[in-house]
Amino acid sequence: MNGIRKYLGLILAIFVVLAMAAWPMIDGKDITREVVFTMLLSVALASSLNILLGYTGYVSFGHVVFFGLGGYVGFYLMAVQDWSLWSAMVAGGLASAVLAFLLGKAILRLRGGYFALATIGINEAVRAFINNFDLFGGPVGMSLNFQVYQNYGGGAREALWMSFYVLIALTLLTVTVSYFVRSSKFGLGLLAIREDEDAAEVMGVIAPNAKTWAYVLSAVFPGILGVLFFFKNGNIEPAPAFRLHLSIEMIVMVMLGGQGTVLGPILGGAGYQRLRGFLLTNPLFKNIQLAVAGVLLLVIVLFVPAGVVGWVRQRFPKLRRILQ
């Protein structure tokens, strides 16, 4: 009993993800699966970013660079080197982790706005590099041979369903990692850095190392997800791989749900994608859906900086054990 209570926060988070995932399995429609695919992708990306943004307090405006780079590395290995999706996902995750490790050593000494600016610069630099990198197809990008999908269930439709199941597993993994980081000694060190980095160092937190590992952890999953996303997509190009506004949307999701909580990015990611889906299909809003995201971010920062979950935690302290 005590064991269950201890993990109540994790159980609730997993339950919410599974509830979303069950929806297309029950109604069996392709369109529902596509809707939930984008929702789960957002949940996983937002939960990854939250490790850096929410726990450590470092705002990365260019986090999509890990999604794009991982996607490119994995895609190249699948399309040109005939690797399987599985090994390509591992390679994509590793590529993003290595980039984050090297960047972490270089730019995590910057604080506040300077770090955020540096991350934008890096995203743009990597995009420009890929654009001129012939091995990865330059500005044209690369495409997968349709034959490849035969290996994943027999046809394109089966491969799409399989991608969906893989995404469910990855989302659950990301959320679980996020939970265990939050409730570990390592995570406590990150929270201390977020609150006051100098005071944390005086208390013995080795901030440069802790920050680097937080950055690496928050980069691994976007890298893996990038491979899966572009595998399902069938082709990859620089512009969609390094879309800066996806980075900003990831920040909106984390802020909306509640930065620094495990459940927040899950609700924020799913909620934001539902809202975006509604706006895109609404004739009035379809051209200004990004403006709505901007206004939403403004309203959150001004009035509910703790996000939905953070707000509920403040109002109802008794729920803190469950809403982690």
Binding site: E195, D196, A199, M203, G204, V205
Partner: protein, 252 residues
């Protein structure tokens, strides 16, 4: 056995000589009072000892090991803890979590479970047990000072640097805090305290050092320091004036 040896330490900021040739030895188990007018370099000396700044000259030896220029977190692991003059609570964490950070990352590097037990014990010791689930940001100044103390103690340090823990407290809070400081010394923790509340620091210190404009102008027992003309001059400007003032007050 010396816990800390400071040998000819100097620190320059731009054109300002914040510390010059500061030298002293601190035996284990003592309380050393560090006093001096505002801007004398007291906090800078703390920052040099615990690795916030590297000195421009001289050596700092901690527990027999040369630690000049070590990082603050390495000093923490070696058994040095400090409080800050301007309190730095981790606002969005609970009081207990603040102290757990100290226990987890300090000298003994406990895991979360053990650190929790230490935190409860230390919070009871400084009288904050009732507040342990409150957010640290919601404490008042006196409580925040106790929290700083609790965090430092949870690290189980050999040497504790207290930077004006009595400033801004009312008289009853001051006597409570002095009692805590004495109890810490009884646990065999060596202490250096910077303090402006003279009667308190004179009472608890075994030895005192006086800094003025980065120079060490006096050193000795509290009585010796209090009667040193150089010290009186540093504080009041003119020793003869001070003497006259004292005579006048005796006459009344």
């Amino acid at each position: 056995m010396m816990i800390l040896q400071v040998e000819g330490v100097g620190k320059v900021f731009g054109g300002l000589q914040a510390l010059s040739n500061v030298t002293f030895d601190l035996p284990k188990g003592q309380i050393l009072g560090l006093i001096g007018p505002n801007g004398a370099g007291k906090t800078t000396l703390f920052n040099v000892i615990n690795g916030v700044y590297a000195p421009n000259g001289g050596r700092v030896v901690f527990n027999g090991e040369d630690v000049t220029g070590s990082k603050t977190y390495h000093m923490a692991h070696r058994g040095l803890a400090r409080t800050h003059q301007i309190v730095r609570p981790l606002n969005e964490l609970s009081v207990r979590e603040n102290v757990v950070v100290g226990a987890c990352f300090g000298r003994e590097g406990h895991n979360l479970g053990q650190a929790g037990e230490i935190a409860d014990e230390v919070l009871a010791f400084v009288g904050l047990a009732a507040r342990s689930d409150q957010l640290a940001g919601s404490l008042n100044v006196g409580q925040k000072k106790r929290l700083e103390m609790a965090r430092a103690l949870a690290a189980r340090p050999y040497l504790l640097l207290l930077d004006e823990v009595l400033a801004g407290l009312n008289p009853s809070e001051i006597s409570g805090m002095v009692e805590i400081v004495q109890k810490i010394r009884d646990r065999d923790v060596t202490i250096i305290m910077i303090e402006h509340v003279m009667h308190a620091v004179m009472n608890v210190s075994d030895r005192m050092i006086v800094l003025d404009y980065g120079q060490q102008i006096a050193e000795g027992t509290p009585e010796e320091v209090a009667n040193d003309p150089k010290v009186i001059e540093a504080y009041l400007g003119d020793p003869e004036l001070a003497e006259r003032l004292m005579r006048d007050s005796d006459d009344e």
